[in-house]
């Protein structure tokens, strides 16, 4: 039956369709950010400086949904001894602290900017719709691949990338139900595009049965949970990047002779404040960290069964450990004076870079027992 379409061929077709849809979604989201920049500029022309800050941050907070708004509030008021209202929080606290007025505006997030919301959100909505479509094709491609292989579709680089990006997109879409994180859409669509498209081009391998050491329920659990936590780390990463940009903007705008923002970055005015972004990033990072801890434990159990020891500092084990420690560091940094804010954001970014490094470079070029990239 050489001419019949095999399941694996179908899978490839579905995956490529998904890649194209991700590309379109990426474009839509990018246009959305552009529109936000334009809207931010218009608003700036229209309003005086103080008024404008209020409205835009308000719009951002409204866009970020109730949760993010609450985040902004709870970050500003920290702990019992300093029972302070948001507006009177000392401006010196926290790396991203803007002026007191800025904080008030952040907290006030009452939807003053909602008027401009519907128009601006059209492209974001299209982006999300395309993303959902892409996800469905992606899911279809992953499932057919699994059926074709008669096993879970995560046992070589191509399949890791497939399942991993599927997870990132899934978590993003699920999170969207509660938080409006569409400003992360560009990043998520971009990540899916690059990882999935890239691996379809460079890592594709035909279906082969699973090497025996990989046949274990612990593989299924270990890898699944690892991809899940990667997804949360990815969201945290995106938010941390935005947090850094936002903190920079907030810092610059308090300076009297502030230079205008670069055109592409004006959309930042429509996003929640750096503090709110940070607390959201933290929330995703700790979920990711909890899953990663479980990954580490499940991996050790599997290693115990397969290789006769639960831990041996094999290359891949080393990197799993390094990532775990980095995120533990990030969580600590958030609780350490002088480290909350920009510095901890950098740790989140470094942590996610290590995750990506672990997936790509370590899998391909490092020698170790976990040599299952499927590439020769």
């Amino acid at each position: 039956m050489p001419t019949a379409l095999t399941l694996d061929d179908a899978s490839v077709l579905l995956i490529w369709t998904a890649v194209v849809l991700y590309a379109l979604s990426f474009i839509a989201y990018a246009v959305d950010l552009g529109a936000r920049s334009a809207a931010a500029t218009d608003a700036k022309d229209a309003a005086g400086r103080g008024e404008q800050a209020r409205e835009l941050v308000g719009a951002g907070a409204a866009a970020a949904g109730a949760g993010a708004g609450a985040g902004a509030g709870s970050v500003s008021v920290e702990f019992g001894d300093r029972v302070t209202a948001t507006a009177v929080a000392p401006p010196s606290r926290g790396a991203g602290a803007g002026s007191a007025a800025g904080r008030a505006a952040t907290g006030a997030g009452s939807g003053a900017g909602e008027a401009s919301t519907p128009k601006r959100m059209v492209m974001a909505r299209i982006g999300t719709t395309l993303m959902v479509l892409a996800f469905l094709f992606h899911l279809g491609g992953t499932i057919t691949r699994g059926i074709a292989a008669e096993r879970v579709p995560w046992s070589n680089m191509y399949e890791f990338a497939m399942t991993g990006t599927l997870m990132i997109v899934l978590v993003y879409l699920v999170v969207l139900i509660r938080y409006d994180l569409r400003y992360l859409g560009v990043l998520i669509a971009g990540l899916a595009l690059v990882l999935l498209g890239g691996s379809a081009v460079t890592f594709y391998v035909e279906v082969v049965p699973l090497a025996q050491p990989l046949r274990s329920v612990w593989l299924v659990i270990h890898v699944f949970v690892a991809t899940l936590s990667t997804a949360f780390f990815a969201l945290a990463f995106g938010l941390s990047v935005l947090q850094l940009l936002q903190a920079r903007r907030e810092r610059l705008e308090t300076q009297p002779d502030a230079k205008p923002l670069a055109r592409g970055l004006r959309f930042l005015r429509t996003l929640p404040g750096a503090d709110a972004l940070e607390s959201l990033a933290y929330r995703f990072a700790i979920i990711g960290f909890a899953f990663w801890t479980f990954t580490l434990i499940a991996g050790s159990i599997w290693a115990q069964d397969a290789w006769g020891r639960y831990w041996g500092f094999d290359t891949k084990e080393v990197w799993t450990f390094v990532i775990w420690v980095l995120y533990a560091g990030y969580i600590h940094a958030r609780a350490t004076r002088g480290w909350r804010g920009n510095r901890s954001a950098w740790l989140s970014i470094i942590g996610f870079s290590a995750v990506i490094f672990n997936f790509t470079i370590v899998n391909m070029f490092f020698k170790g027992l976990h040599a299952y990239s499927g590439l020769t």
């Binding site: 949760g67 708004g69 609450a70 985040g71 509030g73 709870s74 500003s76 008021v77 920290e78 702990f79 019992g80 001894d81 029972v83 302070t84 948001t86 507006a87 009177v88 907290g107 997030g109 009452s110 035909e206 279906v207 082969v208 049965p209 090497a211 025996q212 050491p213 046949r215 274990s216 933290y282 700790i286 909890a290 801890t293 479980f294 434990i297 050790s300 115990q304 069964d305 397969a306 290789w307 006769g308 020891r309 639960y310 041996g312 500092f313 290359t315 080393v318 390094v322 420690v325 980095l326 533990a328 560091g329 600590h332 958030r334 609780a335 350490t336 004076r337 002088g338 480290w339 170790g368």
Partner: protein, 619 residues
């Protein structure tokens, strides 16, 4: 009040983010303006105390964590003796200049190196130094009362208030004006029910306020809060706190890490690992002598290993023959073995990849497999001088295998034979042989013969898998005039120089094909490590603590009731404060307000949440 409030706070190192105002966080209160710890008064004790505080500070913990992450990385770049000893040897020959230097800074033993150890030992000392006082403090906090209600609840971010108009009180209207404005009239209630906002017979505003707080107290307690009443001059309030589990979780998490480390440390001393190759039809016993390599931990009594023997009856595996992309890929490795304790009947068991055989606290793993051709050497007179199964080590996926035969006695000279075994022999274009399939389709053995001194008489142990040819002369193969020996199963060929003959025995001479013509061997790893269970227990404990610490919200709630001067109403205030990251705080206050109001009979829409000028409460 401040002191009271702090006593139930978790204790934190001085440079914790919440330690900003000093207080309980800094045991000695020595916090300088920039957040660092002020330099101490001179004196040994002072310095010690200062050093200890530095070591147990958040910043030190953070730096040590980051150092740990960085220090672990080199071990993934350079081969490690523990995981890949051959890699180290290879590295030495590839980079003869660099390797000794790297070795001198423990780069091949990163995880046992002084610098790596220093980092994690310091980290764990810091951890213990941090956790112990916190545990003590938390233990006390668990038995103390929630803090006094702040005087001005309105200053908290999550604050709501409503008026409770007392229907029955003198001078009041039936229903509060706000309730009317909200569109809910008292007449909506069913006949026979108490009117909304009703007081009990003979109750004045103060009594009603007190009753409201009683109710709030009950509600808070039943939803898991610890509560305390603080009534004073005309106001009634309940202070509630929940989420002590958060700190408990944090402490369990950190203590669990210590548990893991200790279990690994002690377990390592009691563990042993041995390797052994077992050929089909042969046995080994679990004694030190019978292992080809054995690594005992420091405290292992190697004379008293549990005594059992294990015989490999058969080793089976399947080869993929259908999937074009994975032809020859081996699947389903199964070693069928019999185990036996002295004086007992043998028991048939299996060892599989991912499924170790458990016996007497040992785990037996299937690590590798290969072919062990049976070889017989006879001298010129036809006397058998050597007869053994010789394990050939696989070199590629198609099981081209390398092996060595040493004939030490019985011939005029010592013989060493080195060569390859091909389960399915094929010829490359160059004329060299290779194996094209891992199963026994057309097996062949090729051997080069060396004569001379095997170097095994001087008592120095030699690996059975290596032949030192420095004292030997090559008799066949390349660089000699004589072709290498090539033998198929069942064949006998002459050794060079009339030394005798060599036979490659067919293990199943009557077989229709070669599938069973050569014995197989498995390499087993016997592993004893009781710590694994403990490590797992502590790791899971840690994980449970982590989840609790990260996801249980810790918060305080207050409900305050103040009868107004006219005696016609009670002002109810609800406020909450998050201790740490708590996205659900506002919702919790709202829910409390609603349920409390409802059970007092205040109509749901009676009071719009009041926005205080100082703090945003709407979302």
């Amino acid at each position: 009040m401040e002191q009271q409030a702090r006593s139930t706070d978790p204790m934190r190192p001085a440079d914790h983010i919440d330690g900003a105002s000093g207080g309980s966080a800094a045991p000695e209160g020595a916090v300088s303006k920039d957040g660092g710890v002020a330099s101490p008064a001179l004196g040994f004790v002072g310095w010690m105390r200062w050093g200890w505080r530095q070591l147990t500070s958040m910043r030190t913990a953070l730096i040590l964590l980051l150092l740990l992450a960085i220090a672990a990385i080199p071990g993934s770049l350079v081969p490690q003796r523990s995981a890949d000893p051959n890699g180290v040897v290879e590295y030495y020959s590839n980079y003869p200049e660099l390797a000794p230097f790297l070795d001198s800074i423990s780069m091949f033993d990163v995880y046992a190196s002084p610098w790596f150890s220093a980092i994690y030992i310091l980290l764990f000392i810091s951890l213990i130094g941090c956790v112990l006082p916190r545990t003590k403090h938390h233990w006390q906090a668990l038995r103390s009362q929630p803090p006094r209600t702040p005087a001005r609840l309105a200053r908290l971010a999550d604050f709501r208030t409503r008026e409770w108009r007392l229907a029955g009180a003198a001078g009041s209207e039936a229903v509060g004006s706000e309730a009317a404005a909200g569109g809910t009239a008292g007449g909506d209630t069913l006949p026979g029910e108490t009117l909304p906002g009703d007081t009990l017979p003979g109750e004045d505003a103060a009594a009603a306020a007190s009753r409201a707080i009683d109710l709030a107290q009950k509600q808070l307690r039943s939803s898991g809060y610890r509560v305390a009443r603080y009534d004073s001059r005309g106001t009634f309030s309940v202070s509630a706190e929940r989420g002590y589990l958060r700190e408990s979780g944090n402490l369990v998490f950190h203590a669990g890490l210590v548990g893991v480390l200790v279990a690994v440390g002690i377990g390592g001393g009691l563990a042993y690992t041995g390797q052994r190759v077992v050929i089909e039809g042969t046995s080994f016993t679990n004694t030190l002598l019978d292992y080809s390599s054995f690594n005992p931990g420091r405290f292992v009594d190697t004379d008293n290993l549990p005594l059992y023997s294990l015989t490999l009856d058969e080793f089976t595996l399947d080869y993929e023959v259908e999937n074009q992309h994975a032809i020859g890929m081996a699947t389903n490795f199964v070693a069928h073995v019999s185990t036996q304790h002295p004086g007992e009947e043998p028991k048939r068991e299996v060892v599989q990849v991912n499924k170790p055989l458990k016996i007497d606290g040992n785990n037996i793993y299937l690590l590798g497999n290969g072919y062990a051709p049976t070889i017989t050497v006879r001298d010129a007179a036809g006397e058998v001088v050597f007869h053994d199964d010789v394990a050939f080590l696989p070199q590629d996926d198609n099981m081209t295998s390398l092996g060595i035969v040493k004939v030490a006695d019985g011939l005029p000279v010592q013989l060493g034979l080195v060569g390859f075994f091909y389960p399915t022999v094929a010829e490359l274009e160059s004329g060299a042989l290779t194996s094209s399939f891992p199963a026994l389709v057309s097996p062949r053995l090729t051997l080069d013969v060396y004569e001379g001194d095997l170097g095994i008489d001087d008592g120095v142990p030699r690996s059975v898998y290596a032949l030192d040819t420095s004292e030997m002369t090559k008799l066949t193969g390349r660089t000699t005039d004589v072709a290498s020996l090539q033998i198929d199963p069942g064949q006998t060929v002459d050794l060079p120089n009339g030394l005798g003959t060599i036979t490659f025995e067919n293990a199943q001479p009557m077989g229709e094909n070669y599938l069973k013509s050569v014995k197989r061997f498995v390499s087993l790893q016997v592993h004893h490590d009781d710590s694994a269970t403990w490590v797992l227990v502590f790791a899971l404990l840690s994980l449970a603590g982590l989840l609790t610490a990260l996801f249980v919200p810790r918060r305080r709630m207050w409900v305050k009731a103040t009868p107004d001067a006219s005696g016609t109403g009670v002002r109810l205030e609800y406020a909450a404060l998050a201790r740490g990251d708590d996205p659900t705080l506002a919702a919790a206050v709202e829910a409390l307000e609603r349920s409390h109001g409802a059970s007092l009979g205040i109509p749901a829409d009676a009071a719009e949440p009041t926005t205080d000028a100082a703090g945003p409460t709407t979302k």
